[in-house]
Amino acid sequence: MNELKPYGGIDTSQFRGHPVDLEVFSGPLDLLLHLIQQDQIEIWEISISRITRQYLEHLQRLEALNVEIAGEFLVMAATLMRIKSQMLLPRPAAPEEDGDGMPLTREGLIQRLLEYRRYRDAAQVLRDMEDERRRSLPRGWAPLLEKSHLYPLREARAVDLATYLREVLERPAPIDTHEVQLEEIRLEEKIEQLLAAIASRGDPIPFREMIARPWWRLEWIVTFLALLELMRQGKAIALQEESFGDLWVLAAPPSEQGLEGHDLDGERMTEPMSMEGMP
């Protein structure tokens, strides 16, 4: 890789993208993108076809396709193309026309701003009305409030837990995330985490708070297994407000603990779990 030209105030060492070599720029692609977005390099001085060609040549030299690098490149190349095509297109708003088909002149602009100002003042009047109205409450408003501090909960049964898990698993994942790497999560660790969390807090903890990465199904499943194991050992209690409702986890009172007295080891998790109807 060639020496990087110093660009004002940017720490170039954090950029490690695929290197490209052009007249105006030589260095990692992600740095180039960053500079273009910062207006430090003009997009029309950049040949995207050349970047792509260099990249394809680089790919051919590689023996195995690195999907992660290929994906990053695609995103950056697409962003560059979008920026460039936007610059090449004529601005649709210019010359703008007002209702009479005349170009928007300074007078037209002032008219429009004055009109906008009217709506802005109307918004302020609406704000006063909103504030006044908020002082009157309709029937049925108070029960809509959160009652997290009340928890009139009943103890959840195994079938409630299974139903809850199924509901969680059926929840659609956010579209814009994708998991490429296969990660591991250890049941023993999850059990310890869960135990530590409920021990440090006297109050019930929402089950979903125990999930660090909600989009990751495996973590839901392992955390759920950890909860089942702790309940089996009598160390935790799960509560649920209503069927399909959120689960709350609470440390079991000391008297209920140690009934089974097993040490934690992964092998004990062989107890068959009723998962009928699970996806």
Binding site: M87, L88, L89, P90, R91, A93, A94, P95, E96, P103, L104, T105, R106, L109, I110, R112, L113, L114, E115, Y116, R117, R118, Y119, R120, D121, A122, A123, V125, L126, R127, M129, E130, D131, E132, R133, R134, R135, S136, L137, P138, R139, G140, W141, A142, L145, E146
Partner: protein
């Protein structure tokens, strides 16, 4: 049978404003006028007896509401969890929709000078704005209008109860604002008739003389700068 008691029971059971038709449905043998008179009678009686609630005409119907005088107590009961207010951006967009409905997103954005997809989404989600159809313009863009929930949120009986724009305008001298706007525009875009100082720049395909894309001059920011609040 005492109509007032029946009306009271029906109103008590409802969490949203009830129209006269909805109420009449439960009382098929009673003439509409009699129901309307009984409702007004109830309204006055509650006020005279200084009840903790009021009967109000809102969003085309009738609704029992806690008396605003008692809000401080209700608020304490609610532990400060007030009904949420709209953000300023959402309120502005809502004002434009309310006065110009039905309106397309493009027209709304032209007026405000900023992208309105986000606030429009919020307003639709809160059921204050809804789609009313499609415009006949190119591309047949969606048209938006306000909902009954909007009337309820602001305590209006109908859209004609919106404050008139002329009254709103009377709160400030439009000539005064105009002068300040012109000065601010001159500072930003160069003096009138010479737009060479336009921030639109001189790249190909950009604004030509005497034409300013409003998107270059965000309306709210410009007005703030010229006039302040």
């Amino acid at each position: 049978m005492n109509i007032s008691r029946i009306l009271e029971a029906i109103l008590f059971s409802a969490e949203a404003p009830l129209t006269a038709e909805q109420i009449a449905f439960a009382l098929p043998d009673v003439p509409q006028e009699e129901i309307a008179a009984a409702l007004e009678d109830l309204q006055q009686r509650y006020e005279a007896e200084q009840r903790g609630w009021r009967l109000e005409q809102i969003a085309g119907g009738w609704q029992l509401l806690s008396h605003p005088d008692l809000y401080s107590f209700v608020e304490r009961f609610l532990e400060g969890k007030r009904r949420s207010r709209l953000s300023r951006a959402a309120l502005e967009a809502l004002a434009v929709v309310a006065y110009r409905q039905p309106i397309t997103r493009g027209e709304l954005e032209d007026l405000r000078g900023v992208d309105c997809a986000g606030v429009l989404h919020t307003l639709i989600e809160r059921d204050l704005v809804t789609v009313s159809g499609r415009s006949n313009a190119i591309g047949r863009p969606l048209l938006y209008k306000t909902t009954d929930r909007f009337l309820e949120h602001f305590g209006l009986f109908s859209l004609s109860d919106l404050p008139h724009l002329a009254e709103v305008e009377a709160l400030w001298g439009s000539e005064d604002v105009r002068t300040q706007l012109e000065a601010e525009l001159a500072r930003r875009l160069g003096p009138a008739g010479d737009p060479s100082g336009s921030p639109a720049g001189d790249r190909p395909g950009e604004a030509s003389a005497e034409a300013f894309p409003l998107s270059e001059v965000e309306g709210g920011a410009l007005i703030d700068h010229a006039i302040g609040d």
